[in-house]
Symmetry: C2
Subunit: 261 residues, 2 copies
């Protein structure tokens, strides 16, 4: 049976067997979960360059060989076509389908990018006694488009998308210290305090995910978010792109500590 | 006149005017110097992926747009075709020419990669009171091919090339601490102690650079080295590749501190 201490390979097998179709937060706690982006090889350089130029939003953990669905570095033996609980298929930037198995869409010219995710630093925050509000409230993290532009490439550009966690003022320095170590999982915050300075009008109306309670005296703290890649794909409108469905991540064999300096 | 406190832009201008053709260690101290690799766009994804998979050897600082010689991120306004003191031209992996101006070789399909260099962490070592033997002895750093294989891509593979600095045993922990912060300039060592464990037979016979004195009681400490990219190019034999000449680096507008976490 599935439980919080299941191994990554057990969870991937359940996905592969069609027996798991839920969001992955809390599963295989302590192991690195990853965002997935699949693109044709013709766009692979430009996308890898976009990630290289914007490493806080898009920290690359693994890139598969052309046509090969196995992420050999972070999960040897896994198959990214079947081992995530749920996927989204985009044609020319438009979401056309959600599915639990992308083998029907697979092609010999596709390349998969696995990208670090905030779950890794949230575990570290919780282990350090820092509150993570959306976990307390059992919600998805609130995410917002900002007025900060990512460094573009010829083909990919995007506003920086951030996630927000409210913290008591006396927890902020510790949160910066704890999360900055996880430089392959978005690392330190990109902004602390006034949302309007980065173009966010209303914290209670996130562009993605759920609003969470911000208590009196708490300060909103913002981290770069992997959803930035999906905005970049929406703007570039490639003929085919495949991603995980929000919250339905790939669970790798790496321990969170691997993502730190 | 050129001196140790010259600005990067002044040194680049001297190169551009054909007035500087010397190695760059010690110039514009405190500013980031970079390895240069120029390749056709057709190989750009595979090379960027090789660097992404081997970040300790090949930490990417900037990648120019196809056909554009300006490294917009680390030195806006610079021209990598003229602003280094000396270059090497390779055809099918063979060195065919050294030159001080690569404009005659430039093509609209070329991409330039700027890669972090050990000068940044050596400055930090010296500032921390750690000895850097080849600097004391006014030599080039000794470099060795190891029996450690880089993570390959379909096209690029290479043994890891390392540089070596001998240290008194009671300096080693501090050297790890100081250099590990510079994760975009090779970061922490890859090996401490017995050279034979990583396939090095004789410290006094480096594969590149100069041998340095290793005193009684000193321990050899090895860091990943950017020359790894040149070995990878030698093995891949691209129809055209251009690099800096050893020690003749590109001087960027970034301060060393930019390369730290």
């Amino acid at each position: 049976m599935l439980n919080f201490s299941s191994l990554p390979s057990e969870i991937r097998q359940l996905c592969r067997d069609g027996k798991l179709d839920t969001p992955t937060p809390g599963l295989a706690l302590g192991f690195v979960q990853a965002n997935l982006v699949v693109l044709p090889y013709s766009l692979a350089f430009e996308f890898l360059l976009f990630c290289q130029r914007n490493p806080k939003s898009c920290p690359i953990l693994d890139v598969t060989e052309i046509g090969d669905p196995e992420p050999k570095i972070i999960a040897p033996g896994a198959d990214i076509r079947t081992d995530l609980p749920r996927y989204r298929i985009f044609r020319h930037g438009e979401l056309i389908e959600e599915t639990t198995d992308i083998r029907p869409f697979w092609r010999s010219d596709l390349v998969a990018f696995l990208i670090g995710c905030s779950f890794s630093f949230e575990n570290a925050m919780l282990n350090s006694g820092l509150p993570v509000r959306h976990v307390e409230e059992q919600k998805n993290v609130p995410m917002y488009k900002t007025n900060i532009e990512c460094i573009p490439t010829r083909i990919f550009s995007s506003p920086l998308v951030v996630s927000m966690r409210p913290l008591p003022a006396n927890n902020i320095v510790r949160a910066v210290e704890v999360t900055s170590r996880y430089y392959k999982a978005h690392g330190s915050p990109v902004h602390i305090g006034n949302p309007e300075e980065i173009g966010i009008r209303d914290l209670q109306k996130p562009d993605y995910g759920d609003a969470v309670t911000v208590r009196d005296g708490e300060v909103p703290v913002f981290w770069a978010c992997g959803v930035t890649t999906q905005t970049a794909i929406f703007q570039a409108k490639p003929e085919l792109a495949i991603t995980h469905s929000p919250g339905h991540m790939f669970i790798s064999d790496l321990k969170d500590e691997y993502l730190t300096l």
